[in-house]
């Protein structure tokens, strides 16, 4: 198979583009796609301070590398989630990349910063990935604001966006659909949040890292096993294999035809945001979801044991109610 651009030996097929590329042309294509996403959605303006949320995985390291090569002097922030050896290894990847590129990496340790780890948060009523996502959104936004960054970059790729869209569409979750955008503008209490990888699949970001010799954590988070997001991605890739381009068509169709119809709902959602009475973060409740999560995750274990016993009694009396108690 030959490269579409230079006719050298290809190493990556991009089936949804009906093309294959050699390493040099593939890296160039990734840069073009990221530049196009940044330009189309006005993600980053000249002279702005940019912070990249870095997990040590392929997407966050790829987007950091791409931004640096495109001339954005971006810093990184790594959150130590306290997930045993997995967190140790992902932190090593983030630090090694920062050192190799001579870039600044801010490190935040969840346990010392907020008093709990993700495994502790997973013992609450929230599902592990939901608790982790909530903690990350809160702390990344806070870090960006506290350090004076204009824009927070995340490594969400096309597959992430399609899986979220698929899940929200299955449930017709209109408020969530209304706020699904490649760039969320800054507003009171929120830094601007942008997703420059929205035009690249995760197969492309992984290939980019292999070609660029970026060492990233390949193993899946041990707490993510069996989550719905991964199931959606597998289903969507089954569709994509039969019909290359189906994922991009679904996402782009939503962005072009449906998202504009939800602008009013998105504005209503923004207007309903107040301030958390405890930490001052933006929220629609009196106490924000993060503070409530922290209360639950740091509650003394004896009280939680008692509640579990209570639940098990109810479960024996009513198996249906007991089985649904952990749904988010």
């Amino acid at each position: 198979m030959k490269c579409r651009r230079c006719e050298e030996q290809a190493v990556v097929e991009v089936r949804h583009a009906h093309a294959a590329y050699c390493p040099t042309c593939f890296v160039e294509r990734c840069r073009e796609q990221v530049s196009r996403a940044i330009g189309e959605h006005r993600m980053i303006r000249s002279g702005e301070k940019v912070l990249v949320a870095v997990s040590g995985g392929k997407d966050s390291l790829a987007v950091w590398d791409l931004l640096l090569d495109l001339g954005y002097p971006a810093d990184g922030v790594y959150l130590g989630l306290g997930i045993g050896g997995y967190s140790d290894r992902s932190g090593d990847c983030a630090r090694a990349f920062a050192e190799r590129r001579g870039a600044t990496l801010i490190e935040i340790d969840l346990a010392s910063e907020v008093g709990f780890t993700i495994p502790q948060a997973a013992n609450t009523r929230r599902m592990p990935c939901s608790a982790c996502g909530l903690a990350k959104r809160h702390l990344l936004n806070k870090t960006a604001l506290d350090h004076g960054y204009d824009v927070l970059v995340t490594g969400h790729n096309l597959d992430d966006e399609v899986a979220v869209l698929f899940g929200n569409t299955l449930q017709w979750n209109m408020p969530y659909l209304a706020r699904q955008r490649p760039a969320l503008p800054e507003s009171s209490g929120f830094a601007r949040r942008v997703k420059p990888l929205v035009r690249l699949t995760e197969r492309e970001t992984a290939a980019y890292c292999v070609i660029r010799r970026i060492d990233y954590i390949v193993e899946e988070c041990p707490m993510a096993s069996g989550n719905r997001h991964l199931l959606y991605k597998e289903l969507l890739n089954t569709l994509e294999e039969r019909d290359p381009g189906a994922k991009a068509t679904f996402l782009n169709g939503f962005a072009d035809r449906v998202a504009p119809l939800l602008d009013d709902l998105a504005a209503q959602e923004r207007d309903s945001v107040g301030t958390c009475s405890r930490c001052g973060s933006p929220t629609t409740a009196e106490v924000c979801a993060f503070c409530r999560l922290r209360d639950q995750a740091t509650r003394p274990p004896r009280r939680r044991k008692k509640r579990r016993r209570d639940r098990s009694v109810h479960a024996e009396e009513s198996p249906v109610t007991g089985g649904e108690s952990r749904r988010p």
Binding site: G57, G133, A207, V218, L230, K233
Partner: protein, 64 residues
């Protein structure tokens, strides 16, 4: 040839020569969900893998 798989990490043997796309079929893998790396170089689906090759099958799906 030696095939290295992830999640869980393991190694299996298969007989070459074999097209990369046929290896995916043999392992029951969706080509959208993996990359094939021979030595330390990516290969496309039409690449002919040889008996002496060591091939990593790297999953690309991640998320939480």
């Amino acid at each position: 040839m030696k095939i290295r798989l992830h999640n869980p990490r393991r190694e299996v043997e298969t007989t070459g020569p074999l097209r990369a796309s046929d290896l995916c079929k043999q392992l029951g893998l969706n080509r959208e969900s993996v990359l094939l790396i021979r030595g330390d170089e990516l290969v496309t689906g039409d690449a002919l893998l040889q008996e002496e090759d060591v091939v990593e099958v790297r999953p690309v799906i991640s998320g939480g």
